[in-house]
Subunit: 344 residues, 2 copies
């Protein structure tokens, strides 16, 4: 089959690779009908050392189940399924507690020896605990929104949950990427009163407003902090969704959180140590978050997509086939595309 | 009157100072009947630059109200009151939300121009919002325990609340000082199943066991982390109370928290940036805490003291008059005393 392999920074290729096969009895094979390029795929795209072996890419997908191992119970051939960005066994304590991203059998797709989803097909470890069957046809018009259940919608939702967004709360979303925009959707959905988006790209800002953002702050760094203070009576907001991960984004998040408030961070942190620790302490600000348990959130979020209450699929502004994937990486890296959908 | 003044590292003196007076109509004056030396008083004791003017010391007290300003409504002359370590107006949004340590009129005793409590008397700003009258005589046998409501009990409780301690949870307390020991009391009181104390002083360990600690870990640094992993099936504990503030203590706290768990930190952080940020992220560990809103916790904790269910006053292992205060600092600094009570 054909799959996306990264061989170094800026070097993304579509290559012939062996077809995936069932290895363990808990595996499934899915034919990928939708995948996408993630903001986190851009980190190796900018920095990966040249690799002879290469890295299969892609960790978000919807597909059709083609085959299942002997011990798979909850999905069957022909099912349309969401493939979250990580596999989980569905049976350990962490899975039962709703944190499949701490599963004792956790592994990430497009990483840790797993295949990638920017491919014609992919093998799924622990299919029962990983895949989520959805009641739609494989070309349903809702596919773009359903595809966001694999990562960005659940991730934005996680930031909002951890930041304790609720009715009447003032919320700030740091970052106008696909996750930040899904954070706006999540904040609105959870009842936030004011939603500030910290971002500066006109098309993304326009989309954020349609998703529910009430205020836009396009300044950066200390100016953004100052502007947020002006807009919030000097005190900041109850809940901050940190959807970037860079040092300055986290610094800003801490400084704009109201005393006693909470930060949900889902941007992979650049820093080994968290900036703003003392400020967070003196303000009794709580900082949480991490790899989102998106598999556990699908049950809650799916009805809102199926019934048209939210349209997170609007974050996709480009669709490509496999041959278009290298160009998709380039355009996302150049910020010419917000998020690229792949139809293998 | 006589008061404790610090004039530099290691230089604590009892000096004659002007009697405090009512300055604002919201003030009260209290005659201090009990005060104490706090672990946090040892920071300047170790590092303060010589100061001609000196710093009045002490931020925990119980006293008798001697006089109130014209606008004071909830305390009156003769009341026995707890004086928390910070003043708060009792009327701002933060006070109403239960976070008086974010009060818009917050100030710390023995700091920021306020007098100290290791003295014969002290002026209280915003007496209505700050002081908490208690229904006991001034020499009640419960005084030591009641005195902990001014700081260390409420601070340990805050760590436990922020770390989401509850029935069935496994809890670790990092630090065997007075706050850590009160953290053990708080964890037990909130229903924790196993309570690990990370500490190494035999007398403190013995007291911790009486307070409810089930396991003692006396290793340090990487060895403590390894031991905690052995004792918890490799996964760590749900809740960690970080009661030290030093870099290694915070690193340990992060490494021993179970994925999805929470850290309540009440040790004043030594680091501008929080160590272990990436580990906390990948494990979805929440980090919160800060200056404890002890005034807001008194209502909940007081009945347990009055009815004898908890005995936090046992953290005091030394009692001195004002003349004994310099020696009390020395003994706490040399770890010859756990916590020193002052009876001016």
């Amino acid at each position: 089959m054909r799959a996306t392999i990264m061989r170094g920074a800026g070097d993304v290729r579509i290559e012939k690779v062996p077809d995936p096969t069932i290895i363990e009895s808990t595996n499934a094979l899915i034919r990928v009908t939708r995948a996408c390029v993630c903001g986190s795929d851009l980190w190796p795209y900018r920095s990966m050392q040249p690799s002879e072996r290469g890295q299969p890419m892609g960790h978000e997908a919807i597909g059709v189940v083609e085959a299942v191992g002997a011990d798979v119970r909850t999905v069957k051939r022909g099912d349309i399924v969401v493939m979250p960005f990580a596999s989980s066994d569905g049976t350990c304590n962490f899975c039962h507690e709703g944190l499949p991203t701490a599963c004792i059998h956790l592994s990430f797709f497009g990483n840790q020896g797993n295949e990638g989803a920017q491919a014609e097909a992919i093998r799924i470890p622990y299919a029962d605990g990983t895949l989520f069957p959805i009641p739609v046809g494989k070309d349903d018009a809702l596919m773009p929104s359903l595809l966001t259940l694999a990562d960005v919608l659940g991730t934005g939702h996680h930031a909002a949950v951890v930041a304790k967004v609720g009715p009447g709360k003032d919320v700030a979303v740091v970052g106008d990427g696909a996750v930040g925009l899904c954070g706006v959707i999540a904040a609105k959905r959870l009842g936030a009163e004011r939603i500030f988006l910290l971002g500066r790209h006109p098309d993304r800002i326009a989309l954020a407003r349609e998703f529910g953002a009430t205020d836009i702050v396009s300044e950066r760094g200390p100016e953004a902090i100052e502007r947020m203070r002006q807009l919030t009576g000097g005190h900041g907001v109850h809940a901050v969704l940190e959807c970037v991960g860079l040092t300055q984004a986290m610094k800003t998040a801490v400084e704009i959180t109201r005393a006693g408030g909470a930060i949900g961070r889902v941007g992979v942190p650049q820093d080994a140590a968290m900036p703003g620790s003392q400020t967070a302490f003196y303000h009794n600000v709580t900082v949480g978050g991490g790899p989102a348990p998106v598999r556990a959130y699908i049950r809650e979020l799916l009805p809102d997509i199926l019934e048209g209450r939210i349209q997170p699929g609007r974050v996709f502004d480009r669709s490509v086939d496999l041959d278009g994937v290298p160009g998709g990486y380039r355009d996302m890296n150049d910020r010419k595309a917000l998020k690229v959908m792949v139809r293998p």
